[in-house]
Amino acid sequence: MQNIHSTFWQKSVSLWERDYKLFIQAVRNSLALILVAVFSVIFKNDSSLWMGLCVLGLMQNNVISPFWRFEYNLILTFCVSSAGLMLGCLFLSSPLLLVVYAFFLAFLVFIVVHFKLNTIYSIWTWIIVQYGVLSEKSVDDAIQNVLFNFYALLICLFICGVVLRPKIKKECLYEMKATLNGLSQYLVAFKKDIFLNTQKCRDSFLKERASVFARLQSLDAQIKDIQNLLKKEKNSAEMESLFLMATLKERLVEIVISALIDIRLLDVDMEKKNEAISVLNEIISIDMKMTGKKKIFPCKEISEFYRQLTHHVNEKINSIEKKSQKEILLLYSKMQFNVNLLDAEIDRYVSHKL
């Protein structure tokens, strides 16, 4: 029984760490909803449904905004949605006019996508405005809606700015670990796909692939956030180390994916392919020894760690090469060279040649 509990606990923790960013956003939403309920009970009003919707809209619209723009984006979303609610007053006189306004609101959602302004007006902002306008009967209703939208903003600012502030360092460390975990799952799916070659395996392989790609995108966005922070606080050694770790992780994922593409095309027997995949698996598990600790290491330690990784991979590949055929030799030399590139990346970064 104790074992079951500990396994369940471990699984929950690993799930929490894997999708930390999504979970923390969900928790923020839930906390905000609890505050909405408390607000409704204290002030004895029946607008909890409307305020709940505003909270969800404001919070969710913020998910796609960069780290440094979190609060700023919340306020902008509030301004846009409130303007939409007030503008709705002009269309209240007839249901047909409301239909025209609904056209305009939905039209705008995709026009702003063209100008890449969807961090301010997206489908979430649209929900606030559309729902609010359809529930309004007079200007007073609109003012009341804006007022409750403002309370929702205060709740969101309290939750996002005070209680659960986004923490770029923590998020990035968890994201790196999750990316490596996702990559090893991708390796398993890849192996099944090339060995079993069934439609089910292909679907699961494509799913894992899309998931690794989404993680890479997220990691890349975080690297950009860290770069922005580094520009502001120039001598932050911790941030510099985090930037280096995240960049190396991105390169490592690229190396593994490009090697897998090559392995798929190799005209050699399955055993050799399996051997090549196991080398990649080993690279991931070695890197996991550092990433799994969810700690920012100084640049010197990172450099030392990757030198060891490169050395290990070189040794491993050299031991395989002796008994391999030409095609696989080419693959290994490419793999070996790419891993050595990680060392060069560190050297270039450490000697500030950016």
């Binding site: 999708d19 999504l22 979970f23 956003q25 969900a26 928790v27 939403n29 839930s30 909803l33 609890i34 309920a37 909890s48 449904l49 709940g52 969710q60 249901p95 409301l98 239909v99 025209v100 609904a102 056209f103 305009f104 609101l105 939905a106 039209f107 705008l108 959602v109 995709f110 026009i111 996508v113 063209h114 489908i123 649209w126 559309q130 729902y131 359809l134 529930s135 494509l206 692939r209 899309a210 790609f213 989404a214 890479l216 995108q217 890349d220 690229e254 994916i257 490009s258 593409i261 090559d262 798929r264 095309l265 490419k334 060279f337 790419n338 590139l341 060069a344 990346e345 270039r348 040649k353």
Partner: protein, 348 residues
């Protein structure tokens, strides 16, 4: 004028969304006389995706998630304790799952969101059963409006978009070549290259997603999935080799070396070979594949590969430059493989 330029996908999508939302609101208010038409409009807008295949996929997931959640919701309303604490916990739990699953699985997200809606109605209005019926009605109507809108209003089909995706894919690879060359010449920064790398990788992924959307439109069996996938694979390999070439030059500071002009020239050569190869993409009548030209290109590529191979044998290059030469050779080989895939695709 921008707002009526229907060649821009976002403008088409905006008009489609506007008409579908206005239409579904009008029908809900005047014909069906629904009390809360906003949920119908929401479902319609959510189901209206960039193309018909994607809309069908979204509609299926939304219907499936809602139906399952309504069954579970009814069970919870009738058989589980109707206490405030239980419903509050259910509401919070369902909200967390709905938000958590938003980007991971739409069907699960809708499932949890529906449970949350039922919990809200049961908690605040003591009428969970009403919420189930309301949600079923809203989602069914919204899905119908959204899907019909995607099919009849300035429709975009994934199968038709796929050719433009492929063109975009190859154009972005060309830009990746250009980025490296311009970075070598000092006209671009390494950050600009990394940005282009991300765009190129995104294009690879969107082409894959498009294949899945196509399968919703015309079925899996008809689709030449493997052929398209092979082509995308070849683009991905070219992408990764280019990234490696850039990293080699950047990390080992090769562009400052005296004899680097030679490598730059060879990269320029391989770029022009790539451009000639993608010109044969059978995507329009003007770009039909001509066997003779294709064979000539393969001959040029073979010549290039041979040349690189001979340089490698000369042994008068440093290790890093040797690796650069090998990468150029691999690149030419990939382009050759791509040419053969384009030919297959044309035959198909």
């Amino acid at each position: 004028m921008f707002l009526i330029n229907f060649n821009i996908p976002e403008v088409r999508q905006a008009w489609r969304a506007g008409v579908v939302c206005a239409g579904s609101l009008f029908l809900s208010l005047y014909v069906l006389k629904i009390n809360s038409p906003q949920w119908v409009v929401l479902s319609a807008l959510v189901c209206l995706q960039a193309n018909f295949g994607a809309s069908l996929k979204r509609a299926k997931e939304r219907l499936l998630g809602t139906l399952l959640a309504c069954c579970v919701g009814l069970f919870a309303v009738y058989f589980l304790p109707n206490s405030g604490i239980f419903l509050s916990v259910l509401l919070l739990f369902a909200t967390v799952i709905a938000i958590y699953k938003t980007t991971l699985s739409y069907a699960y997200s809708v499932f949890a969101a529906t449970i949350a809606v039922v919990a809200v109605y049961a908690l605040f209005f003591h009428n969970g059963k009403y919420a189930v019926l309301l949600r079923l009605e809203d989602v069914a109507l919204g899905v119908a409006f959204g899907t019909l809108g995607a099919l009849f209003l300035w429709p975009d089909f994934a199968r038709k978009k796929f050719s433009s995706d492929l063109i975009l894919l190859t154009q972005n690879k060309e830009l990746l070549f250009v980025c490296i060359l311009e970075w070598i010449d000092g006209k671009k920064t390494s950050q600009e290259f990394f940005d282009q790398k991300l765009v190129s990788a995104q294009n690879n992924q969107s082409a894959r997603v498009r294949i899945m959307e196509m399968s919703y439109e015309i079925g899996r069996r008809i689709l030449p999935l493997k052929l398209y996938e092979k082509f995308i694979f070849s683009q991905e390999r070219i992408h990764y080799i280019l990234v490696t070439i850039f990293n080699v030059i950047r990390n080992y500071d090769l562009k400052d070396k005296e004899d680097f002009v030679f490598f730059r020239q060879e990269l320029e050569n391989v770029k022009s070979l790539y451009e000639s190869a993608v010109k044969f993409l059978p995507l329009s009548k003007e770009k039909t594949f001509e066997i003779e030209q294709g064979e000539c290109l393969v001959f040029r590529l073979n010549e290039f590969i041979q040349k690189m191979h001979e340089y490698e044998l000369q042994n008068n290059f440093s290790v890093h430059k040797f690796i650069l030469l090998s990468n150029l050779e691999w690149l030419a080989k990939e382009i050759k493989a791509m040419c053969l895939e384009i030919k297959d695709s044309f035959n198909f």
